[in-house]
Amino acid sequence: MVRYIARRIGEAVFVLFVLSVLVFLMVRIMPGDPAAAFMDPSNPDPSVRARIYEQLGLDRPWFVQYFSWIGGIFTGDFGRSLTQPYTVGEQLATRFPVSLELGVMATIIGVALGIPIGIVSAVRRGKLADNASRIVTFLLLSVPPFLIGTVLLLINSRTTRFRLLGFVTFEDDPVGHFTKLLLPALLLSLGLLALVARYTRGMLLDTFSQDYIRTARAKGVLGNGIVTGHALRNAMAPVMTVVGVQLASLIGGTVIMENVFALPGMGSLLINAVNTSDYTTIQACVLIIGALYVAISLIVDLLYPLVDPRIRVVRS
């Protein structure tokens, strides 16, 4: 068990290392001049180029650049923004919690709604609840969440006029803070919800036809007892895998959802930075959003053995 945890953490660290190299190389393997976006093409100003190169650390040897960059990150120093008068670290400090909250809320909503929907769908197979949930989950996999968000906002702006956009900090208004995040989080969770519901249903239907379920029935275990006591636990491990895999697109979805709902998170920061060629900010955002995903998926993996004890034996 300890070995499994250690190996899993080691893998996560390795993934982060590769991501950091990728992000580091991003600015270096660009064809063309990274400073080009900041200069007048007809009349290039060498002092601007010198400033950009210095801020990106491009004026030193490669591996020195990498280690000073990564070393800075460990001390919270992400460099200065190339376009705005602040350090990237300051921006991250206020924006990271928003994205984290959004991602965690969406994950919890997706799992907490997806599993019960899948169970009901499996138990009431072929009935109204099952058919409805199958249609809805299928559609949710085919509709991009930003589209639902945009349409809801447009309808809202013509009719009910709730204040759905924007953000309030927890200190200013704890209730408003959560209500503003609730809709984006719910929309963000829909893809995960749909997949979890579908897999839960499929896995449960599979386990229902297993011998040991028949045995349990023969012993006289009643309907719901079979689901909760016998089938569900065995069906959960593959569902957890789906959660783990789907998290990547959920975390990626925060980038889009923050822009739709004007939330001051990492995603909106990242898109602004991409539009203004603010490379230091892009690097920091990509690395931190990636790290957020790696951390959450690590937690999901470490929860595995709690759900399915067989994994403890197999993996360790």
Partner: protein, 320 residues
């Protein structure tokens, strides 16, 4: 007098093609044909600015015009064709790369396996949208960078999907027989192993394509995907939001097109799954039974009337 009787081929021997597959293919073929029409014989130039803004559908402009008087049909279906093309190209690239890597990893095993699968783990740990933005920063925005980014990011999934059946097949008799006959490893992999793992591969391809559609739409919505003046469905939605009062169709039509393309790929995935490995059941099974159409349309509301098979947790009878 001779009577020739044409005999129908016996149905039992043939694979019954799931209706999801037909429906999904139908949707995509329709969109493809419409986009070919829009691209090759456009009724109007997609970029020509007309003096008739916010025209309603019908007459000259089949689907109306936008704020600049550009023809919506032409722009919408060129955009739909672009989306379709990007999703297909990205899927094809990642499927070819991933299948090759998965075959090598599964068949060779050992060090090749470890390297390929660890590499796949690393790539899987990077959200697709981040990879797309990294590539966009390096080589600029546009269609080609999108295809490259998605081609990279979806490769590991195919490697995983391919590796598992290859591992299971490696010690089977027909593979060992081929080895003893002196067949070179690449031939064994392609001729004997690949066909036996085709179903999961095709299903994964369709799922990947639908994910690519949603990702492309999202990126274009943020202005990081397909660039103007090329029309793109995601961009149309973000651009026309502000005109929703003047012409709601300008948002509704692109929305329908995105959902139709993504749903088309998802239907194909479900249909392939159900056609070739029928153990996994039904997305829309209840819509197909041999009952009259009016009865089928009521099924979601009043049930099919057919008792569910193998249902151990039947709530109606036997449970007290």
């Amino acid at each position: 007098m001779t009577v020739t009787v044409k005999q129908k081929a016996p149905r039992s021997g043939r694979t019954k093609i799931a209706s999801e597959l037909k429906l999904g293919l139908g949707i995509l073929v329709f969109i493809f044909v419409a986009s070919v029409v829009a691209a090759v014989f456009p009724p109007f130039s997609p970029t020509a600015i007309g003096d008739d803004s916010f025209a309603l559908p019908g007459g000259e402009h089949w689907l109306g015009t936008d704020n600049l008087g550009r023809d919506t049909f032409t722009r919408l279906f060129i955009a739909a064709g672009t989306t379709l093309m990007i999703s297909a190209a990205a899927t094809l690239i990642s499927a070819v790369l991933g299948t090759a890597l998965g075959l090598i990893a599964g068949y060779r095993g050992g060090i090749a396996d470890s390297i390929i699968m660890r590499g796949a783990d690393v790539l899987l740990a990077i959200p697709a949208i981040l990879m797309a933005l990294i590539v966009r920063v390096i080589i600029g925005p546009g269609i080609i960078p999108l295809i490259i980014a998605m081609g990279i990011i979806y490769t590991p999934t195919f490697a995983r999907v391919m590796r598992a059946p290859v591992l299971a097949m490696r010690d089977r008799d027909f593979i060992i027989a081929a080895q003893l006959a002196g067949t070179p490893a690449p031939i064994i992999a392609i001729k004997h192993m690949l066909p036996n793992a085709l179903t999961p591969l095709m299903v994964q391809a369709a799922i990947t394509a639908s994910e690519a559609v949603l990702l492309e739409a999202g990126l274009s919505y943020l202005g990081q995907g397909v660039q103007p003046p090329n029309p793109s469905v995601g961009m149309m939605i973000s651009e026309f939001q502000k005109y929703v009062q003047d012409s709601p169709l300008l948002v509704i039509l692109p929305a329908i097109v995105i959902v139709a393309i993504a749903a088309g790929w998802n239907l194909i995935a479900d249909g392939l799954q159900r056609t070739f490995s029928p153990r996994q059941r039904d997305t829309f099974e209840f819509l197909i039974p041999r009952q009259p159409l009016w009865r089928r349309m009521l099924t979601p509301f009043i049930g099919s009337g057919i008792p569910a098979k193998n249902s151990l947790v039947d709530t109606k009878k036997g449970q007290k």
